[in-house]
Assembly symmetry: C2
Homo-oligomer: 698 residues x 2
């Protein structure tokens, strides 16, 4: 590639400049970006972000300029170098775990230590005995041993009971033999296993005396600590490239009668008595149950921020990008219109902007609920009580709360991650052609996020858990022995008013708007209950109904939580009235837009009249779009993503979209180091290959 | 990577084997795959596919085993080698253009000659004079010159009128000066320009005597024919990596006062008199208008097949993959259920299977309509008539037909490509975790297809064209001066029955089902007309309504065309009664599922009663899923994708899913050639790097 000549360097985009357009946008609104940002993140976290950002940006290994160009092998090498440096920086700066995670978020790629730092350490900590902590956890915490968590198998995903890998107790020498009886038993998708880990927690079916005891965790060394080559009887490697997540080495593992000592079975909850070979039943699995709920709650909370990255990029670019004139523009008017002025673009983007806040406040509420409940459970749990499954059953109210929290976290995890994933793709397309460029920054982020819809419970599978809980609650309400909670309250309200009908005033009253969502959930629950209990339909035949029901219930929870957040004193004291007014408009936009998208269920449940939904669509939503639009730029600014994190030409805070796209294509793109021979009758491909120079310049 | 030891090679998946499961699936149905395949493709095309496939598979350059692993630069080099070989094979085997395209489809990647072989040659052919054919077209057809078509600019996508590049007529030396006045004038996204082309057709604003005449096409050499380096005043290169399409070198181009001779302005339709500098107006732009319609019709026809690739992969894998037991399964029953048995999976996949046929038959009908109309237009067109814009206006009926065809092609292009793109992603997710692996084969295909939703008219922009046409038709119906066509007929029917209401019997009658879709289109049209003509709402405020209207109209056309196809004698004579019955079920599934998904518009237009829609959902659709399910495997087999084309572990015709996933990960994956040092306190990354070996083995 010949370097750009001077006449190219002298070129500017035609006016008005992106920076001018964004300044003008920001001037349209008076809401305080700083206050809103503090509300979302807290001041402390924002300051921490600035501090970490400076450290990372100063380090050459975190230079992002070749991220979008690298192939799989280079991507992985770079990610490994960054993972090592992050760990070094953690020690140097004495970062807490939260700070380490925040630094990772700024780097914004899944790294090869990812599953070591999360699942491996957590599992050892939670499920190991003090002896095992000394033996396995300590070296792992000091990165003397690098581990991963090996559960999923080639032929077995969500259904843990179906795992094929076996761990057979051998009373003679007090060992377990780990074995993969079939190809489908190969561990698969195991993060950090492909190239990085030398240890794994392997979930395997425990077998004693020929009798199976279900899946249990075993620590197994898989690679030599010095040579890093696989040990005998171990076939391990990377499972290959994926739609995203290619900085991570998801791996496979086959075990051929690998012997491990008795101490390698993680024994805090259940164990095998080495003397007698007797199986000791697990105590207090509620703690694990709680962990899953915590992980799902985290996903809910993150989903708002995940989506906000895409919305930030698309909204900023829609304010810079101009195309066509308004068809009704007076004759002779000049220049093209900002894309953000088109109602079709507003209709695609602004409800997603509203959803980022809705999901964020819902996630906050979930986490608070989780922490309250966790305290209660911890107090009630008695580790000495070894009755299997005792945890969730131990006290009536504790059980109810946990069941409610479990169902809520399942439904909201599914709704939140689906909304974020699909919303990101809407944002990408709303950027038009340039959204397809890697430099847009949404595509890779979306591709890396997609697995969230599958892991920690497939989003479709999870909806069955929600339906099961709602059906159970409905049965208890009908029987009159229901606990008092929000779910049973909305069911009771529905049953009382069912005959009269509802006709909620969704346009005039916020509480009616929330109540309409509660009504729809209740209606669908009792419909499903009739199908199951009265008509005796098979569970399988009702899966689609259950999915609808779970979605409806989760949408109700999001609308309700958003509404509650806006009523809270703490929020009202943090932001000025104008910001509060805009947040209220976002609440109404989110709720009415959802109602309109799901209109048929609101019709058929008689929650709302046909006329009200028509008005919601043609008048209310369109009016709210117009009202929110002037604040769009400040609202995305409040999410406070540093440009370095977004790594997007289109989403630059300064609006220099075209300069940045051009710079990356013309100056950073290795393919431009390749001069080819274009003629088909000549088998020679390349006249000159200087692609490597782009990499070595860094 | 140590090679797999013998104990690994001896492993098989746990039973039942994928091959057994697929055989059992195929045995559940008696429909003739061969007859259905002939109906879709014709016997001749299928034989051609076999013939081409053998030639390609025998050639090492088309080996696909490293496709999913390569980075951008390697991807491009391989694609260039393949493009050259395809051209060599075309000459060797004397392939027609259709055969060349079919071979390309089997290779299944966008190649560096893509835009040369399509848009560059077509533009020269259609818009060049005989002199220009001799000068530019002949060397291009012989690949002595490689070209591209440079329209889109960095700051200008859909709006061609807004292009910034100028071509200024210079009367002194009878030349044009091509110039990029701003950075945003840089040509961008130009396929085959980045590294491959040495010529470009540049769309630029013609300026004579300081007066602008709008965008016109100019041939411009951009690289040296020998060195392949950019010529003076030219800054050209590749725009960088994209979400997909990375085998193609989409390029940018800046021009600094580049002088080209008079003959380089393509002059068949409009030109500049070299003697006087007078602008000669275009004649018969209807031909170009026709080309756009043809391109869009092709996209509609292809959308069925594009989607069918994803549906084939997901359906086959859903028959091999087993997970959980049915909750209502009798106690003690063993083994897990095929995922395809779950209604939630059926509900996601089988309506898409129905859509592949619906789109295919619609595309066929579109192409037939196009060809009929084209004949008529060609007969009516008089190239000597130089009145600007004369083409579409020239005869009343010709104009009406063309307007109808134009609107139809716009709406169906938007609906077809959106359905295919979004459907592919549904298929990918329906494959669960393994759908995320590149070896699944859907991800890359989806990513490469995505730009279709943007090019040849952005799918949202196009809906305005449809709405404009429908509003115009509605006005003419109200005035009583409407031409007689399907659109005006359904409007008249609606106006006659509007007061009585409709209450179509969508469950009992196919014609009523089609009529319900027509009713909804008509209702939305007259609503929009009222908003625009009576309430005088701005065009911009109605864009969302127009998008809904266009979608509704296009869905009506697809349902109608599917229905018509099933009534046609030619179809009925080609397939046996059982196949016809299944196709009829697919028609009903497609129509009722669409109706249910769009239920609120069917409610609010009073096309169907609430009760009917509830029944459609809970009874009819679920029953149709159950009835179609036994035929699913044979139906996807009928699409006849060779395994080599699909390049998917999950979609293998023989069901050897797990063997293939494992083989690719363990034997073909270059990352497994990398042995790393895992410890963070050691800056060394790699102990041993044998990744290059994987490539060189080929």
């Amino acid at each position: 590639m010949t370097p750009a000549p001077q006449w190219v360097k002298d070129l500017k985009p035609s006016g008005p400049q992106g920076s001018e357009l964004l300044s003008a946008e920001r001037a349209k609104s008076n809401i305080s970006v700083e206050k809103l940002s503090n509300l979302l993140h807290t001041k402390e976290i924002l300051e921490r972000q600035d501090r970490l950002l400076k450290i990372l940006q100063a380090d050459k290994v975190f230079d992002k300029s070749q991220n979008y160009f690298d192939g799989r092998v280079d991507k992985f090498k770079t990610a490994l170098a960054r993972a090592k440096r992050l760990r070094q920086l953690q020690i140097k700066h004495n970062w807490s775990h939260d700070e380490y995670v925040a630094a990772n978020d700024l780097v914004s790629e899944p790294g090869p230590y990812g599953l070591h730092a999360s699942m491996y350490l957590t599992t050892l900590r939670d499920q190991g005995t003090p002896e095992q902590h000394k033996l396995f956890l300590e070296p792992a915490e000091n990165y003397k041993a690098i581990g991963c968590y090996a559960q999923t198998e080639l032929g077995h995903g969500s259904n843990v009971r179906g795992l094929e890998t076996t761990a057979t107790w051998n009373p003679e020498d007090k060992t377990f033999v780990l074995h993969s009886p079939h190809l489908t038993a190969s561990k698969w998708w195991i993060g950090s296993m492909g190239r990085t880990a030398n240890h794994a927690v392997v979930m395997a079916q425990l077998i004693i005396n020929g009798r199976p005891y279900g899946p249990h965790p075993f620590v197994c060394q898989i690679r030599d600590m010095k040579t890093h080559l696989p040990l005998d009887g171990i076939h391990v490697g990377d499972i290959g490239p994926k739609f995203g997540y290619n900085t991570m080495d998801n791996g496979f593992l086959l075990l051929n009668k690998v012997k491990i000592p008795h101490v390698n079975m993680l024994a805090r909850f259940s164990s095998v008595d080495p003397a007698t070979g007797k199986y000791l039943k697990p105590s207090s699995p509620s703690l694990i149950y709680g962990t899953l709920t915590w992980v799902r709650s985290t996903i809910v909370l993150q989903s708002g921020g995940v989506l906000a990255r895409g919305v930030t990029i698309a909204t900023r670019y829609a304010a810079v990008r101009r195309q066509f004139q308004d068809r009704d523009a007076p004759a002779g008017s000049k220049g093209e219109d900002q894309v953000l002025n088109y109602t079709m673009v507003q209709y695609r983007l602004l409800p997603l902007l509203a959803a980022t806040f809705a999901l964020h406040f819902t996630g906050k509420a979930m986490m608070a609920l989780y922490q309250d409940n966790q305290k209660m459970i911890m107090a009630a749990a008695n580790p000495a009580d070894s009755k299997r499954g005792a945890g969730p059953e131990q006290t009536h109210s504790g059980s109810d709360l946990l069941a409610d929290l479990h169902a809520t976290s399942c439904g909201l995890k599914a709704l939140g991650s689906t909304t974020a994933a699909e919303g990101l793709e809407v944002c990408r397309r709303a950027c038009g052609g340039h959204g397809y460029s890697s430099f847009g920054g949404i595509g890779a982020w979306y591709a890396d996020y997609l697995p969230t819809t599958t892991w920690e419970g497939d989003n479709y599978m999870l909806t069955q858990q929600v339906a099961r809980y709602l059906l159970k609650s409905a049965r208890s309400v009908l029987k009159g022995n229901a606990p008092d909670n929000d779910t049973t309250r909305i069911f009771n309200t529905f049953l009382q008013k069912q005959d009269m009908g509802a006709a909620h005033d969704v346009l005039g009253s916020d509480t009616d708007l929330v109540a309409a969502f509660a009504w729809r959930t209740s209606f669908l629950t009792f419909e499903a209950l009739k199908h199951r209990d009265v008509e005796k339909n098979s569970w399988n035949s009702l899966l689609v109904d259950f999915w609808r029901l779970s979605t409806a219930h989760s949408q109700y929870l999001v609308v309700k939580n958003f509404h509650d957040a806006l009523q809270s004193e703490s929020l009202r004291s943090e932001v000025d009235p104008e910001t509060l007014d805009v947040l209220h408009k976002l609440f109404r936009l989110h709720a009415l837009n959802t109602l309109e998208k799901e209109a048929s269920e609101f019709y058929s449940s008689a929650a709302v009249t046909v006329r009200q939904i028509q008005l919601a669509r043609t008048k209310a939503v369109m009016k709210l779009l117009e009202e929110v639009r002037p604040h769009a730029l400040r609202l995305v600014d409040a999410w406070s993503f540093p440009d370095w994190q977004l790594d997007s030409s289109l989403g630059r805070k300064d609006g220099k979209v075209y300069e940045d796209l051009f710079h990356r294509a013309s100056e950073l793109n290795p393919l431009n180091g390749l001069t080819i021979d274009p003629y088909p009758d000549n088998d020679v491909l390349v006249k000159n290959d200087e692609t490597a120079k782009f990499k070595s310049k860094l």
